[in-house]
């Protein structure tokens, strides 16, 4: 909370442009569409001619709408004297903060070029000794369950045989994919609707995010995992009942340890009604849940949510991947959670301080492996479902995540990209030109929920086919047999210590 001061702006440094829409006047027909479509107002009209004005973020909207393909967005060369240590990004950050005194904000997952451990891992395949399976002629099962796993099942005899121990609420999904939590507020109504429609069509689960659930979406209840976050936005009896699963959000991969601030200008009438907060005020999610200061407290929130849903819904806990994630996950299972969601540090966000987005957390690959190993060692792994995301970009990443120990791959950014997102990292400005991360009516209307949902459905059906191909090729006939099957992975990266921590053999090592 800064005090507003009216500093003289005399010394303000203007940052050079990063991108430039370049218009080919030979083909441009001066239809002005790009001018109207650019929500960043980076194109202007001068002397009845469209001209670049500055502020382009390379969102690509103008390219998509130009009828004559007259626009090209050029990344401009650095305008700074080269320096290996004082990179352009460092210097731009300093100029910006010296101008504003503010905390630098951004969105999407970190764009820093960190190593991708998924790319250092190779999958196995069957040859000779264990036949591979052709999914076209033999079943390769991708059905997945979300919820508490029975530690034991007892069948007791009475008048009829019945289960008398071990059954809990569990959700059946057609593929090991969960659409991650994106809240109404960070994205538009149409975007959330598209995600829920896709989840229903695919028979999987989509996260509600922490912004409550609009009553229109109660029809998708069987495919929604609703979130109880520190702000408790929209959390009431009907919210907890109109959902397939409940998830306590402790942390988010893009901003571990932080809460959230939805700026007042995004708290429109719709958002205020869904979050049940006053119009136009900042919506603050406190950093911790103030009723959870320990694992014992977490156990109580899990228990009260189970009471509230009359033991009819799985109750899980979502945490950001942090260095002690194994021990934390163990505590969460012991506290009675039915599932754990782990969000890696490359996970997306509608808004996060850059300093935390770019610097804090743990790669999801490592987090999955250490949690799976820790829970297995402690005899707890068979009680929970693990969903993991934050950096899963394609079916290969998903398959590797499952083999490392996750039951379910949580994916959001890929679904957004399927809908048109260009990962321009401007979501926090509320001006998304693709109608995704915005509350402005005119921009929102650019996203057609049916078409967007169909794109997401096609994407994940394709991923699921690729999953069936690959595990069939490994000679595995069910995705459940791949979970935690690290013996079918080999590490080929630069750091054998990482392989050791993840329990991976390196390339060239055989079985046994």
């Amino acid at each position: 909370m800064s005090e507003k001061t009216d500093r003289p702006k005399r010394m303000e440094t203007r940052l050079p442009e990063k991108f430039m829409p370049t218009i080919n006047y030979n083909t441009c027909v001066q239809c002005k569409r790009c001018v109207n479509e650019c929500s960043f107002q980076a194109i202007d009209v001068r002397d009845n001619k469209v001209v670049p004005k500055g502020g382009c973020v390379a969102c690509g909207r103008c390219i998509a709408v130009c009828p004559t393909s007259a626009i090209e967005i050029r990344p401009l060369p650095s305008q700074f004297p080269p320096h290996g240590n004082w990179t352009e990004r460092m210097r731009r950050g300093i100029y910006a903060q010296a101008n504003s005194g503010g905390v630098l904000l951004s969105s999407c997952g970190t764009d820093e070029p960190y190593d991708v451990i998924f790319e250092d891992i190779l999958l196995d395949a069957a040859q000779v000794t264990n036949p591979s399976i052709d999914p076209l002629r033999e079943p390769v099962e991708t059905r997945t369950y979300l919820g508490g796993r029975p530690g034991r099942i007892e069948v007791c005899e009475g008048e009829h045989m019945k289960l008398c121990g071990g059954e809990g609420p569990i959700i059946e999904m057609d593929m090991p994919i969960m659409l991650g939590h994106v809240s109404l507020g960070s994205v538009s109504y149409n975007t959330q609707k598209a995600l829920f429609m896709a989840a229903k069509e695919l028979n999987i689960i989509a996260g509600s995010g922490e912004g409550g659930l609009h009553e229109d979406f109660y029809v998708y209840a069987d495919h929604i995992c609703s979130e109880v976050a520190s702000g408790r936005f929209g959390v009431n009896a009907s919210y907890l009942k109109n959902t397939a699963a409940v998830e306590i959000k402790v942390g988010q991969g893009a901003k571990p340890g932080l809460g959230g601030h939805l700026p007042g200008e995004k708290v429109t009438k719709l958002i205020s009604e869904t979050r049940m907060i006053p119009l136009g005020t900042d919506a603050l999610s406190p950093y911790p849940h103030h009723d959870i200061y320990s694992i014992e407290d977490l156990q109580q929130l899990i228990s009260v949510l189970k009471e509230a849903t009359e033991y009819g819904r799985p109750v899980g806990v979502k945490i950001a991947a942090v260095h002690n994630v194994g021990a934390i996950a163990s505590g969460i299972v012991r506290a009675g959670a039915d599932f754990i969601t782990i969000d890696g540090f490359k996970g997306g966000t509608g808004s996060a301080p850059r300093v935390i987005r770019d610097n804090a957390g743990l790669p999801i690959e490592v987090a999955i492996a250490v949690v799976d190993k820790r829970l297995t060692d402690e005899g707890l792994r068979n009680r929970v479902t693990i969903a993991a995301g934050g950096g899963i970009r394609c079916s290969a990443d998903m398959i590797k995540a499952i083999a490392l120990g996750a039951d379910i791959a949580m994916v959001s950014t890929a679904a957004m990209i399927a809908m048109g997102c260009r990962v321009c990292q401007q979501c926090h400005r509320g001006l998304c030109p693709w109608g995704i991360a915005t509350q402005r009516e005119d921009l929102m209307a650019r996203l057609d929920p049916e078409q967007a949902a169909a794109r997401v459905v096609r994407l994940f059906r394709a991923w699921n086919e690729e999953l069936r191909e690959v595990i069939g090729g490994m000679g595995i006939d069910s995705v459940e047999s791949l979970v935690g099957n690290r013996d079918r992975l080999r590490y080929m990266g630069p750091n054998p210590k990482i392989a050791e921590v993840m329990g991976l053999k390196t390339v060239g090592e055989g079985w046994g």
């Binding site: 910006a96 101008n99 503010g102 408790r232 603050l284």
Partner: protein, 279 residues
């Protein structure tokens, strides 16, 4: 190896022995389980018995000999439902409460009225930490005192506005992150200088806190400021105090000159905090 004993059953109150006695539309549940011969009821059993009573259209439920059972009345709905608790309920009493009145003839523990939606919780003793967390409607009246982190992130929406009245004193972190609603601390029977602790209203961006007694700006968290009570405030104060006196029969008085009001300095505490430059 794990030594967790997993219990999945929600229908534990189907033990065959009835712990609920119904007479003329009033259900009485003995939480010490004396009549079941099985010892005190587990919270799951007690809550299951409560849910059953509600489902069979009972509108008054009396629970006797409550010994720390948690989550009593969680998500209970209906404005005509009344739950009377004799003894000491456990944590998260009346969580997500949606209309009913819960009256406790004893002390309550932590997290009373957690994320409550509407209804009333009346405590004839003290209520400890984290009372009224994230409440967005309804009324919590406490005759005695409350502890730390009380009324954090209460918020109002439309016509619903939560109120929390504490007869005695509270400790630190009162009304942090508050986004709406009213907290009133009466400081009755207190001998300390100020009936409230430190870091009051940190991050507050809505709502109001009235305190009968002294508060200095050093007790406030960032984002909160102190003002004298206005005419408009006194109408709300009078109605809350009348309600308090009605429940507990303890006179408070109407001299508002020794009350102070704590409220947010802005509804947008984070505007200007961030830099959105595309570095």
């Amino acid at each position: 190896m794990s030594n967790i004993d997993y219990e999945y059953h929600a229908d534990e109150c189907d033990c065959g022995k009835d712990c609920t006695f119904t007479k003329e539309g009033v259900a009485t549940i003995r939480a010490d389980g004396r009549d079941t011969g099985k010892g005190p009821l587990h919270y799951k059993t007690l809550n299951c018995a409560i849910r059953k009573a509600i489902a069979s259209d009972i509108r008054t439920i009396i629970i006797e000999e409550v010994m720390g059972q948690r989550y009593i009345g969680a998500t209970a709905s209906g404005t005509d439902l009344r739950i009377v608790v004799h003894g000491t309920p456990g944590n998260s009493l009346g969580a997500f409460l949606n209309g009913p009145t819960i009256e406790v003839l004893g002390n309550a523990q932590d997290m009373t009225g957690n994320t409550m939606n509407s209804g009333k919780i009346i405590i004839h003793g003290n209520a400890w930490d984290v009372t009224g967390l994230s409440a967005r409607g309804g009324t919590i009246m406490i005759k005695g005192s409350s502890g730390y982190r009380v009324g954090i992130h209460m918020k109002e929406f439309g016509k619903t506005r939560p109120s929390l009245v504490i007869g005695g004193t509270v400790k630190d972190y009162l009304g942090e992150y508050m986004a709406g609603g009213t907290i009133l601390v009466l400081g009755l029977r207190s001998h300390v200088d100020s009936p409230v602790g430190h870091n009051i209203g940190a991050g507050m961006h809505g709502g109001r806190i009235y305190v009968r007694g002294k508060v200095t700006s050093r007790q406030l968290g960032p984002g909160a400021i102190i003002s004298p009570v206005t005419e408009e405030d006194s109408a709300e104060l009078t109605s809350l105090i009348e309600e308090f006196e009605g429940y507990f029969g303890e006179p408070v008085g109407r001299d508002y000159s020794n009350f102070v009001k704590i409220h947010p300095s802005s509804s947008r505490p984070f505007s200007g905090y961030y830099d959105k430059t595309n570095i």
